[in-house]
Symmetry: C2
């Protein structure tokens, strides 16, 4: 979500990272989750407040931002295709999370390490390649952009999401991901091109960027053996 | 998806259930997954073909059908709220699937039974109540329909999806789900009301309905102990 806002040059306030004294932090998140912002109550972050609208769920937020900021393609088919790809990337993201929490979100990783070994093995050997290979084929088939974008001729929010998920996978599973990227050159090139876009590069180098650490993508070396 | 098409009274062909001799079955699914229907290639079923549009991912299909058939509310906020709730129901559905496949989609349930016990326990004790309790609070807050619909004053595709996921949970986890539903009376009443709608009831009693059995929602008694 932050990538889309930054690429669009949209003015936004990242409430979760704002100090509590300025109306941010935990209390602000609690206010949103308690449904006190108006509109439909969210179950979990992220939550976007845009004027009267309050929208939760990453894919819904991105689809809204994509349409508002010209990042959802130019045709109706583009817009539905973008949502379809975003949901597929969301599936991949969810599976990446479950590698370190395969049995219960209420238990620590250390309490489910053995199960995590099994899940991570299947994820490395089957799922990363399946999803990234799929994105590669989508790029290959997209003659409108000569394989440089996932949807249509230009940039969409899905290109940003692809860069984000590949960056997350490269953080959490550097060995397995680099092996897959060697076979998905278009996707690797897309991710490099996205990261080099001026606004994205400025964001990634800024303190506004939230580093990967203990969220969805986590680096446990035992879950990503070499070779 | 079938529920939305049936409630809308839309004419549709369920290609996967059509005999191969009439252009259906496995080969038809393969054709769709190979991207030979035009448009964006899907990664997995379901896939909707509507005129020139080819859309995959359940939530995207439902959002499209909802807007086309007047099942996405009446305001912009309704439409975004419907997508948000659909994605939350999709998260619940995905977690229900992972109770019987917690480590690898490529292995049989019998090969991950021990891990399934752990995942199902957390799902029964924490997740069913969390999600259905959330839907109950959304109903409670929706004064526009006096708590009878999730979004706005009338029926939306999300009401149909709520009925579907609760039916699936009641099939796979009858004991745990009935305990939760005792505390979510509005949601229980919504599900009964949906199942009693003439078109839905006719569909549920017809051979067009795909029974729960070996898909996302599966009934393994050892994953849903009594008491």
């Amino acid at each position: 979500v932050r990538l889309a806002l930054e690429e669009a040059g949209a003015a936004y306030i990242d409430v979760a990272r704002l100090p509590a004294g300025e109306g941010g932090g935990y209390d602000a998140i609690r206010t949103a989750l308690d449904g006190k912002l108006g509109g439909l109550r969210p179950l979990a972050p992220p939550v976007l407040v845009a004027g009267e609208l309050v929208i939760a769920q990453t894919a819904a937020i991105l689809h809204f931002l994509g349409q508002r900021h010209g990042l959802a393609g130019t045709t109706e088919a583009d817009a539905w295709g973008a949502l379809q790809l975003q949901l597929t990337i969301a599936d991949l993201t969810s599976e990446a999370h479950d590698t370190h929490h395969p049995t219960s979100p209420a238990l620590h990783y250390e309490e489910q390490k053995n199960e995590a070994q099994l899940r991570a093995k299947a994820f490395r050997e089957l799922r990363i390649g399946k999803y990234l290979g799929y994105l590669e084929r989508v790029l290959e088939a997209n003659t409108a952009s000569a394989g440089r974008h996932l949807i249509g001729a230009g940039l969409t929010y899905v290109d940003l999401s692809a860069q984000h998920v590949v960056a997350g996978l490269s953080y959490a599973f550097p060995n397995a991901t680099s092996r897959v990227l060697a076979d998905t050159p278009r996707l690797a090139a897309l991710c490099e091109a996205i990261a080099a876009r001026p606004r994205v590069a400025a964001y990634l180098a800024s303190p506004r960027r939230v580093p990967f650490s203990d969220g969805i993508f986590r680096m446990y070396p035992e879950l990503d053996p070499t070779g």
